[in-house]
């Protein structure tokens, strides 16, 4: 059985953004503008744990530009066995559905894949749609917001997971194959080891183009059903702070309480 972790390279959480004529750019004060999507670290960790505890084979997959090789190297350095980059001009500008079509087609090329793991969402688009849409395109079962894999029985073809919903925790059993997305509660991601980093740097990561990935349906920016042309900075919050100063804390607190009642937020 093979477990595939689908990852994305995204701007770092500390990135600062600028928009010029609808074109988004960013820079990172920490000097690392592109990172493995932070939510995906949990997906990679869970995949490696399945490798260690259940003896499954593992592969990290991403669709993106050649820059995304760095994110795949992070997966290899953490402990994934293989990595594949899906990269073609024709795929660029896809919406979540186009991305799901490409990923589903690529997953269809990977033998013995029975489980796909995603992070719960990517921090750039923040939609969380892709795992479910990949599942629909593959005809597999989606299990989103998984906080624990409680049982995995590859021979019996079942998995039991705990999902973290808004109102509580739901335990569900599903038949394999499944596409799961995981939340932060599931584990504590490891740091890549020194040996892992050396190995990842030497690895030759195959790149699959549209010739290798027979996509069903249209993809790329022309096929995108969502127009993303209007992106703009946030309006400034129209408040200037009122610092409440007084002779005593008791007085400061009284003034603040007055203000909050006047604002009708209490």
């Amino acid at each position: 059985m093979k477990v595939v972790v689908c990852i994305k390279q995204t701007p770092s959480t500390t990135a600062e953004f600028a928009v010029d004529n609808g074109q988004v750019s960013w820079d990172d004060p920490g000097g690392k503008p592109l990172v493995l999507n932070p939510w995906d670290e949990y997906a990679v960790e869970e995949t490696i744990r399945l490798q260690e505890n259940h003896g499954v084979d593992t592969l990290a997959l991403t669709m993106g530009s050649e820059e995304s090789l760095d994110a795949l190297k992070t997966c290899l350095a953490m402990g994934c066995q293989e990595a594949v980059l899906v990269n073609d001009e024709a795929f660029a500008g896809s919406d979540t559905l186009g991305t799901a079509r490409v990923l589903a087609a690529a997953l269809g090329q990977i033998e013995e894949a029975q489980m796909v793991i995603f992070g719960k969402q990517a921090i750039d688009g923040d939609t969380g749609h892709t795992p479910v849409q990949v599942a629909v395109k593959l005809g597999w079962t989606p299990l989103t917001y998984v906080a624990a894999i409680k049982e995995l029985d590859p021979a019996g073809g079942t998995i039991t997971v705990e999902r973290l919903l808004e109102g509580g925790k739901e335990t569900v059993t599903a038949q394999l194959p499944v596409v799961i997305s995981v939340v932060k509660e599931i584990n504590e991601p490891r740091y890549p080891s020194f040996m892992g980093i050396r190995k990842a740097n030497r690895a030759k990561i195959p790149a699959w183009s549209s010739d290798d990935v027979p996509v069903d349906g249209e993809v790329g920016s022309d096929a995108s059903r969502v127009d993303w042309s209007q992106v703009y900075p946030l309006p400034e919050r129209d408040t200037s702070v009122e610092i409440i100063a007084a002779d005593s804390v008791a007085e400061q607190v009284k003034i603040l309480a007055d203000r909050l009642f006047e604002e009708k937020v209490i």
């Binding site: 959480t13 939609t127 969502v226 992106v231 400061q252 937020v265």
Partner: protein, 324 residues
């Protein structure tokens, strides 16, 4: 038909708040488009809920009452909604951007090859298309996006729209059959452990949060007490969660929850950009911090520069007195 559809989320016979918000958004969009609103009520023993939904001024309800739909499972509900939409061709589909709302919308969009936009915070009808304002890059930028062709599917962020009020309706509930038989649903729900009783961060009108300034797990006690007195939820910064002082479910920010309460009280939180991304749309922000240069003060409406351990208990006492 070409109307506006709105999916109703519910548990134990009660409609989710986010669906009341979706109902009001649906009524506004339908009004601008000059079409009707149809609500989808799928579940088990949902007859009275369907009647109740009708009274929120929707033109019709499509109901499905079946055991297979008792607990929301996307492989049961998704194909049914997709098949209804294929047959009846709504123009717009709205759902709350909760976990199950996202799951359902993503499933239906994938089956129908429809455009889907997540986390709308504002809707505007322009030339017959719904233009959706939504945050991107974790709330650091905004985008006005729209679906370019076919069914327009949109999920709506919690607390971005007012809740619908009951205004009565002359419409009727039309009942349809379930589509997927139990043996064809590859998911069984084994149990549900409710976190009812706790105020949920995403629904809360008031949130009191603690940051590194609380100093340790015990430091959350006064922060929690203030939240309780105000009937609010307890939030936390990433630093305190990473330090193990408080469970992750309380984390507000880019890798935690995005919240939008009426009142956000930040206690001992410096206000890193990742934290701001999760709370900057709060209506009124109060910052309590010893450090006058903390970035949180640039975002705040009111600030007190002092030790939170002096201010927060005093504030709790003040509200106890005033709120009786």
């Amino acid at each position: 038909m070409s109307g506006v559809w709105v999916w109703i989320e519910h548990r134990d016979g009660r409609m989710a708040t986010i669906s009341l918000e979706a109902l009001s958004a649906a009524r506004d969009v339908a009004g601008d488009l000059g079409v009707g609103v149809t609500a989808l009520v799928l579940g088990h023993e949902v007859k009275s809920l369907a009647e109740q939904v009708l009274s929120y001024g929707v033109d019709s309800v499509i109901g499905c009452d079946h055991k297979t739909l008792a607990t929301f499972r996307v492989p049961a509900a998704g194909p049914l909604v997709a098949s209804l939409a294929r047959e009846l061709e709504p123009a717009v589909f709205l759902a709350g951007a909760s976990i199950v709302g996202r799951d359902l919308a993503a499933w239906v969009a994938a089956e129908l090859d429809a455009g889907l936009i997540a986390d709308g915070t504002e809707l505007k009808v322009v030339d017959g298309q719904v233009v959706v304002t939504r945050p991107v890059y974790a709330g650091k930028l905004l985008a006005d996006v729209h679906v370019t062709a076919g069914l327009q599917m949109i999920t709506l962020r919690s607390r971005a729209f007012p809740q619908a009020e009951k205004i009565g309706s002359s419409g009727v509930v039309e009942w349809v059959d379930a589509l997927v038989a139990e043996e064809d649903i590859p998911v069984k729900v084994e149990g549900f452990e409710s976190s009812a009783g706790q105020v949920s961060l995403t629904d809360a009108t008031i949130i009191v949060s603690g940051g590194r300034g609380v100093g340790g797990p015990d430091g959350f006690a006064p922060v929690r007490e203030l939240a309780e007195v105000l009937g609010g939820a307890l939030g936390a910064s990433r630093a305190t969660v990473d330090a193990g002082w408080i469970p992750y479910e309380h984390q507000v920010g880019q890798t935690g929850k995005t919240v939008s309460p009426d009142l956000y009280i930040a206690c001992g939180i410096s206000g890193a950009i990742q934290h701001q991304a999760g709370m900057r749309t709060s209506k009124v922000i109060v910052a309590i911090n010893k450090d006058p240069d903390a970035p949180i003060f640039q975002l705040a409406s009111y600030g007190i520069v002092a030790d939170l351990f002096d201010v927060v208990p005093a504030l709790t006492e003040e509200f106890k007195t005033r709120l009786g």
